[in-house]
């Protein structure tokens, strides 16, 4: 009968932090419930109408008491705000050495892509003690990527990228759930996160059938979709150079600058007129509806990985630039 869990497993670096705040808040709650409930119960019995008690000089208000109460409430609230926020910033902090995976949510499954080209559905194999960064997007409605044992959750929003960081501390298999209602099979949009030791993970990765790496896929798409027609040094079209673009600050025609992150590059492919780079004419056509989210993932990997871009630039035939302008 009592063989059921009351508390979830801790399997990530975040879990410890979240649980600390959780238990502290439970302690606070117990304190308040007992002090308020205790006071109420005491008054209820002591001043019950059948009991004789001193009921003279009933206090109607006491500003000193109110100020003390409000003051302590402010202190407690502020403390928990800062602590909760601090812990959140800690566990959502990005590290540079993270393994980046791409996750696409759709009704009702999770598609995972590894940089080396492996793909999985509803399952995510990751190495233990290694920071993982997920780049998430959805191809239809809003989903939410939730791994209770890791205490992390992030909505997966169509039309943009969201990111999620975690680092597993235990090997094993953990539940992955969709936490944002997404239609008929919302409750079956489940998966598993399989955490393996580093050597096991390497072996697993090596044994997965791979057609080509994401960079190579991206390279093909770069040529096929006509990107290479303009965005190469050899091109006659005046288009921004993509070499070393990722992570660089870009000056826009509006006078602003922003960092060329994944979202920026995604927007530039689908909504090229949203951010026009300073000094260039807004001539790039939109690839909305022509590239799938997974193809954009691949392009992104390709653009990030400069040497290949360089090769493509040299190899791409000039004839393709006409496609880009159509």
């Amino acid at each position: 009968m009592w063989d059921f869990p009351l508390f979830p497993e801790q399997a990530s670096t975040a879990a410890r932090h979240v649980d600390q705040v959780y238990f502290a808040l439970i302690a606070l709650s117990i304190f308040f419930i007992f002090s308020i409930g205790g006071a109420a119960l005491y008054f209820m019995t002591h001043y019950h109408f059948r009991r004789d008690a001193d009921r003279r000089n009933v206090p109607k208000s006491n500003w000193k008491l109110e100020v003390i109460f409000i003051g302590s409430a402010v202190v407690v609230s502020t403390f928990f705000f800062f602590w909760g926020a601090y812990k959140y910033l800690k566990i959502s902090q990005a590290t540079d050495d993270a393994l980046e995976l791409f996750v696409l949510g759709k009704q009702w499954m999770w598609k995972v892509q590894y940089p080396e080209g492996q793909r999985e559905i509803n399952r995510l194999h990751i190495p233990v003690n290694q920071p993982i960064m997920l780049r998430l997007t959805s191809q239809d409605v809003i989903h939410s990527f939730y791994v209770p044992a890791f205490r992390v959750k992030q909505d997966v929003v169509p039309g943009r990228y969201t990111t999620l960081w975690f680092e597993a501390t235990k090997t094993g298999t953990f539940k992955l759930e969709c936490a944002e209602y997404c239609g008929t099979d919302h409750s079956r949009m489940l998966g598993e996160v399989v955490v393996m030791s580093a050597p096991d993970f390497a072996r697993w990765l090596a044994n997965r059938p791979v057609q080509s790496t994401m960079v190579a896929q991206g390279e093909r798409i770069f040529a096929r979709a006509g990107c290479s027609g303009c965005h190469t040094a050899a091109s006659a079209v005046h288009a921004p150079d993509l070499q070393g673009l990722f992570g660089r600050r870009v000056a826009l025609s509006t006078g602003e600058t922003l960092v060329a992150d994944a979202s920026y590059i995604r927007d530039s492919i689908l909504l090229p007129k949203k951010h026009v780079v300073a000094g260039y004419a807004p001539i790039m056509p939109s690839f909305e509806g022509q590239l799938s989210e997974q193809e954009i993932f691949a392009l992104l990997e390709f653009i990030k990985f400069e040497p290949a871009l360089n090769d493509a630039a040299n190899a791409s035939p000039n004839t393709e630039k006409n496609d880009a302008n159509k």
């Binding site: 109420a40 109408f49 001193d54 206090p59 109607k60 208000s61 609230s77 992030q154 539940k175």
Partner: protein
């Protein structure tokens, strides 16, 4: 005393005299019947949901049916029960009585608001018949605008229409409070219930229009395919969430503030002493109404909101906890040196105190960024807001209904049964919703038709609690109806309570409430704990 004046219930018995009545008391009765009807529908639906969740496999109804069930449960309970509940029934009935007025400022508008309410309700029920709606009560885009295959627009229209009923009621309440107070009834002599209705109305009048326009934009996007939130056009689904929660978070305070008002009336009466901290309680109602508008972003902590906005909304969410804390503190101190009678309304009021405290404290969990990313969209949140809405608001409604039942109907309810059902409700409620906190922290997402087997024990407990809770609701329904005919006749003031409605109006009141306009000479809650009293 003029025995020739008929009370409002006897003053005309034709259908016309009810359905075209502009008497706030009759309209309150119409509303009471309507929200009871909607509560029963919402309750039946949730019965099916709890039945379904008895087993993890999801074998009672199909997932599409389940999605329609929880959506209609949410839509009906939020817009057709919780938001109107106390304001349109007890508020409508009592506001003019408490102010010493003959009616609300705009009696015909009041009647119109009931028709709008019913009209919106009909749309919603029609939608259930023509295919239901499966978006969840939050109508998140792009699911609702593009992907859902159900009667979204019909339900949105129903909620839209009901919204105008809410706006009409709130305008009526604010204007009445400003212009129709009896001679000598200054703002700080008002019963706190009036303050809380006033604060509620501020929220209603400023937030509801935003819901209305959000639903219009949703309907336009769904029906006419005009892109508003559509991500494929570069639209932002989070914009919908901003618009929606700008209304729907304050709406939570629409649901709880009137309950706080009721509790503040009941506790002094059964503790036989003046309320402790009148001004802090009054001001905190207004503070909640205003601060309640500043925190909606905490519904979007995992939605991809900016980190800066998250920090700000988290901070403001902690700030809004403080005025609620002030109220709890003052209610508790009000018991000190009182003469405490544990009558049914008092049991409900103290039950409210306990359950609302738990609901409020768990609000601190979901306001903390670190904890929220884990419990967001899980049963933890479900339990949290049910503690506030069912544990808080419904307890207060039941307490208020028992407290003013003699005034409204002229009959006393059976006290023993009242106490039995109050305790049943308290027990059933905790058994239903406490396990859901554990479920949520374990990681059971909300709106799940099927769930992992290890969650079954807690879910069975919850369903068991729900059936006890149902008994706690059905019992009062029967004995209150019974009391209409066989209950003891109530005198003018069976609770020996203060307030114009008790001291100057008959039970039930005459059509124009008072024989002559009352004059107020002193503060509210002028009880003396040293005096013994005998209730009827």
């Amino acid at each position: 005393m003029a025995p020739t004046l008929k009370n409002y219930l006897q003053d005309g018995s034709t259908l016309r005299s009810w359905f075209l009545s502009t008497d706030h008391k009759r309209i309150a009765i119409l509303y009471l019947l309507s929200i009871t009807f909607f509560f029963m529908i919402g309750g039946t639906v949730v019965g099916l949901i709890r039945l379904e969740l008895l087993s993890p496999a999801g074998d009672v109804v199909s997932s599409d049916t389940y999605n329609r069930l929880f959506t209609i449960h949410g839509v009906i309970m939020v817009w057709f029960f919780l938001i109107p509940s106390i304001p349109v029934t007890l508020g409508n009935f009592l506001l003019p009585l408490m102010l010493g007025a003959k009616d609300l400022a705009f009696p015909r508008l009041n009647l119109l608001s009931w028709y709008l309410f019913i009209g919106g309700g009909i749309f919603t029920l029609v939608a259930v018949v023509v295919g239901g709606v499966d978006t969840g009560w939050t109508f998140y885009t792009p699911y609702s605008s593009t992907f859902a295959n159900s009667a979204v627009i019909t339900v949105a229209a129903g909620v839209f229409i009901t919204g105008f009923s809410t706006i009409a009621t709130s305008i009526n309440f604010i204007v009445t409070t400003h212009t129709m107070r009896a001679r000598g009834l200054t703002w700080f002599r008002l019963p706190i219930f009036v303050w809380s209705l006033y604060a509620t109305s501020i929220i209603m009048v400023l937030a509801t229009p935003v819901l209305a326009i959000t639903l219009v934009l949703l309907a336009v996007e769904r029906g006419l395919q005009i892109g508003i939130f559509d991500p494929s056009l570069g639209g932002d689904p989070l914009l919908f969430q901003h618009l929606f929660w700008f209304y729907s978070h304050p709406a939570v305070y629409i649901m709880i503030l009137p309950g706080m008002g009721v509790v503040t009336e009941v506790i002094p009466c059964f503790a036989r002493r003046p309320i402790f901290g009148y001004k802090p309680i009054a001001y905190s109602s207004i503070a909640i109404a205003i601060l309640g508008f500043l925190v909606w972003g905490h519904h979007m902590f995992v939605a991809g909101e900016s980190i800066y906005a998250m920090l700000m909304f988290s901070f403001l969410s902690y700030a809004v906890a403080i005025p609620s804390g002030i109220k709890i503190f003052n209610w508790t101190v009000t018991l000190y040196k009182g003469r405490i009678y544990m009558k049914t309304p008092m049991i409900y009021a103290l039950g409210f105190l306990g359950l609302f405290t738990i609901g409020g404290l768990t609000g601190l969990f979901v306001a903390a960024l670190a904890v929220d990313i884990h419990v967001h969209d899980t049963y933890f949140v479900v339990a949290h807001f049910h503690y506030i809405m069912v544990g808080g608001m419904v307890s207060a409604l039941m307490g208020g209904l028992h407290f003013w039942w003699p005034k409204m109907t002229g009959r006393l309810y059976p006290e023993f049964l009242g106490q039995v059902s109050a305790w049943t409700m308290f027990l059933g409620f905790n058994l239903t919703f406490f396990p859901q906190f554990l479920l949520g922290y374990l990681g059971m997402p909300r709106r799940y038709h099927t769930y992992p087997a290890e969650f079954q024990v807690l879910n069975v407990m919850s369903s068991l609690g729900a059936s006890i809770l149902a008994v706690g609701y059905i019992l009062p329904f029967f004995y209150l109806v019974w009391s209409l005919r066989w209950g003891k006749k109530a005198a003018r003031n069976p609770w020996r309570a203060t307030g114009l409605e008790w001291e100057y109006a008959d039970s039930p009141p005459i059509k124009t409430n008072f024989e002559s306009p009352p004059i107020v000479h002193g503060p509210a809650y002028d009880y003396d704990p040293q005096k013994e009293v005998n209730f009827d």
